[in-house]
């Protein structure tokens, strides 16, 4: 479902996210001009309702921005910021167009500090930590879920990067929270990892579409033995295989989006993340095979996308984690009737 906001985002990324942008970002340079355009377009608030100061567009429309950003290899924390604002809005916390990030709160402890609250612990692999104004997470205290929005001004980050050169930093947290930095929320804390997994599924689906497109273009242009390599059946079979996997990845990610009601449906997100991750295995491997040596260079754009999907598939739950979660549910649920499980209570699909 493409829409005005998604079209606009696509056009903006086409103009502003070039090979140079991605290369500079991978060298650690913050893309301030790009972020400014993203802010001006209001994209960080895509999933926030109008009452809370956002766009009030449908969830599937808002989430399609994440897929489109993946397709352009947008080298800033747009997915993370969209998600951070959504979580903040769910808890009634302030939203903002500044760069933000999200982390699984497993490494953090929330405790009472006099009349206020304190958060402490170690965070590893914080996406874009050094560039984020706030880190949003979900924590539990005495059985109650909270969203926390932690200011990064006082934090020191130990920098590190994922395979694609995207920041994945570590930091120690010891913060006393102000009133607008924590609020109860009527969602379980694993909403965070489920939403994160859905975001990464969408980003992977988008990136894989671009990888396929690059391969088709390359196969039509690259001439060997007197003809474009796309004329060879071996190459055609590879590209057809990739097309199937890319279509499956998109279908898997959108399956997760369609089941997003007030929050993601955990088992559908599990299936989406697992399936997009598996698709990225086949598609990236064949993409490099089709491209030959040029695809293995810094200079050529392919690696920006293949490295991203290789990183994203391990983030917010690995394929192993999600397949185990889904498998356990399938074996326990619906008294072990696999077909009932897959089709769900109404045939619409797994929901529990």
């Amino acid at each position: 479902m493409e829409s005005m906001i998604a079209d606009m985002a696509g056009r903006m990324f086409s103009e502003q996210v070039t090979q140079q942008t991605r290369s500079r970002a991978a060298q650690g340079e913050w893309q301030a001009a790009l972020w400014q355009s993203i802010e001006e377009a209001g994209l960080p608030l895509a999933m926030v309702s109008e009452e809370a100061g956002g766009f009030g567009v449908a969830t599937d429309e808002a989430l399609s921005i994440v897929r489109i950003a993946g397709a352009h290899g947008v080298p800033v924390p747009l997915a993370e910021t969209i998600m951070a604002n959504w979580l903040a809005a769910q808890a009634g916390l302030p939203v903002s167009t500044e760069p933000q990030t999200v982390v699984d709160g497993t490494g953090l402890t929330l405790s009472k500090d006099g009349k206020g609250w304190m958060v402490s612990g170690t965070l590893n692999a914080v996406p874009w930590g050094r560039n984020a104004e706030r880190i949003v997470s979900m924590l539990t205290h005495a059985g109650v879920s909270f969203v926390v929005s932690l200011p990064t001004a006082e934090l020191t980050f130990k920098t590190a990067e994922n395979l694609a050169g995207e920041p994945r930093d570590s930091t120690e947290i010891n913060l006393v929270l102000g009133a607008d930095q924590l609020a109860e929320v009527a969602l379980p804390t694993d909403t965070l990892i489920h939403t994160g997994a859905l975001m990464r599924s969408l980003s992977i689906a988008g990136a894989l579409e671009t990888v396929l497109e690059m391969c088709v273009n390359y196969a039509n242009e690259r001439v060997q033995f007197g003809r474009p390599i796309g004329k060879f059946q071996a190459i055609q079979q590879y590209l057809a295989t990739m097309a199937g996997e890319v279509a499956a990845a998109r279908a898997a990610a959108e399956m997760g989006v369609d089941a997003f009601d007030v929050a993601p449906t955990p088992l559908l997100v599990a299936a989406a993340k697992l399936r997009t991750g598996e698709a990225s295995q086949t598609v990236a491997a064949l993409a490099h095979q089709v491209h030959g040596a040029i695809g293995f260079t810094q200079e050529y754009a392919l690696h920006h996308f293949t490295k991203r999907v290789w990183s994203w598939r391990d983030e917010f739950g690995t394929e192993r984690d999600w397949s185990r979660t889904l498998g356990r549910a399938a074996l326990n649920g619906s008294s072990g009737n696999f077909w009932d499980f897959v089709t769900g209570p109404s045939g619409k699909g797994v929901t529990a």
Binding site: A240, A251, A271, R324, L326
Partner: protein
């Protein structure tokens, strides 16, 4: 754009009431069916069963009421189809007629053909086979040699069709053959409605498959006279007609549920005390199936809107065959029980049956290589 679009299945396409009706019916109707019988599923030919589900209104569901149909959507038909296949119902006697011959006759047939055939298809009493492949024309359908030569009173047909599934049982064949010479490789082809039970000069010989089953046949046309009104659609328009038929043939749940009986056997054995590896692999089986279902339902939605989703259908079939064919390997990686034809152990018997059937999954309805060639062209490879 190179992306092949699979729009989301329509909202409300789950049809829970219909699904439950089908489940209840099958539970009762198939109470005596063994796992091995279920594993044969759409190879199971049972006219009585087809007649019963025709009575329920579950054959020819999308056909107009004027022709005995029920005017239900392809998505409702999808629900019935997948429930039949998941249960391993013996659907062969009506499957081809319901899936593609009925829609073809509705789209291209004469009024007389529609009135004569469609009500019987919807009743589940009329069985069809497909006359496409020949000894020298497998993947290369344009190499078809069987000819229908116009003459006074109709067409004279000569040639041999091969791999004709249930040709020995079917009432009718949709015959694809050459009716004229053409410069264009795809021109000069036409389709005919052949009454196999009441036409002289047709010899049907069995071809036994490697599992020992008889569903394939060789169908020989020796100077067979077909009446002029046997032509379906336009003279010389056969190629395009076949191409639109293929979207129906390639996208359905039979393209990914063929090994489902083995999945069920496997899960029954690992369910109570699964190892970590078993949980992981069952999770993968579930995720892939969930996505294939979504894609197949998406194609049903496209058919519903009158589009020709040949490319999407081709992708569903290619991905579906990979899934179905991987099940025996997966089962062996999770359980140390051998495949044993006719074993009293239902898992071993179903594994044996499945092992002997899976090679056909990437051959029937278009080989993997042909499908991928179609997809590659769809991607714009020049």
């Amino acid at each position: 754009m190179t992306m092949i679009d699979f729009p989301a299945p329509s909202i409300g396409s789950d049809f829970a009431v219909l699904r439950q009706e089908v489940r209840d019916f099958l539970k009762q109707e198939m109470a005596e069916h063994t796992p091995l019988m279920r594993a044969r599923s759409w190879n199971g030919f049972d006219r009585e069963f087809s007649r019963k589900i025709g009575k329920k209104g579950w054959v020819g569901m999308t056909l107009p009421k004027a022709y005995g149909g029920h005017e239900r959507s392809p998505l409702e038909r999808y629900v019935v189809s997948e429930e039949m296949l998941a249960a391993g119902a013996p659907v062969a006697a009506h499957w081809i007629a319901d899936r593609q011959s009925g829609p073809l006759i509705l789209a291209k047939g004469t009024e007389a053909q529609k009135r004569d055939i469609l009500p019987r298809i919807a009743a589940g009493t009329c069985s069809f086979c497909i006359g496409m492949s020949e000894p020298d024309s497998g993947s290369d359908l344009a190499a078809t040699r069987t000819t229908a030569t116009p003459e006074d009173g109709g067409f004279r047909v000569n040639g041999t069709k091969l791999w004709t599934t249930y040709g020995h049982q079917a009432d009718y064949m949709i015959l694809f053959c050459r009716t004229g010479k053409s410069e264009d490789r795809h021109g000069g082809m036409s389709q005919f409605l052949v009454d196999l039970k009441n036409t002289k000069g047709i010899t049907i010989r069995p071809v036994i498959d490697m599992a020992g089953e008889h569903h394939f046949n060789e169908v020989i046309y020796d100077n067979v006279l077909l009446a002029g009104d046997a032509l379906i659609g336009t003279m010389g328009g056969g190629w395009d007609q076949v191409m639109s038929e293929l979207a129906f043939e390639r996208s359905g749940p039979e393209r990914f549920l063929s090994s489902f009986a083995l999945i069920e056997q496997l899960i029954a054995l690992v369910r109570l005390d699964p190892t970590e590896q078993q949980e992981i692999e069952v999770g993968r089986l579930a995720a892939h199936l969930m996505v294939l279902r979504r894609m197949s339902r998406s194609v049903a939605g496209l058919l519903d809107r009158g589009e020709n989703p040949l490319l999407q259908a081709t992708i569903v079939k290619d991905l579906g065959a990979i899934y179905e064919q991987d099940v025996p390997r997966l089962a062996r990686s999770l359980l140390s029980r051998p495949a044993e034809p006719g074993s009293a152990d239902s898992y071993s018997a179903v594994l044996a049956q499945t092992v002997l059937t899976v090679p056909s999954f990437s051959l029937r309805g278009g080989t993997r290589e042909i499908l991928r060639g179609i997809i590659a062209r769809g991607l714009g490879l020049r």
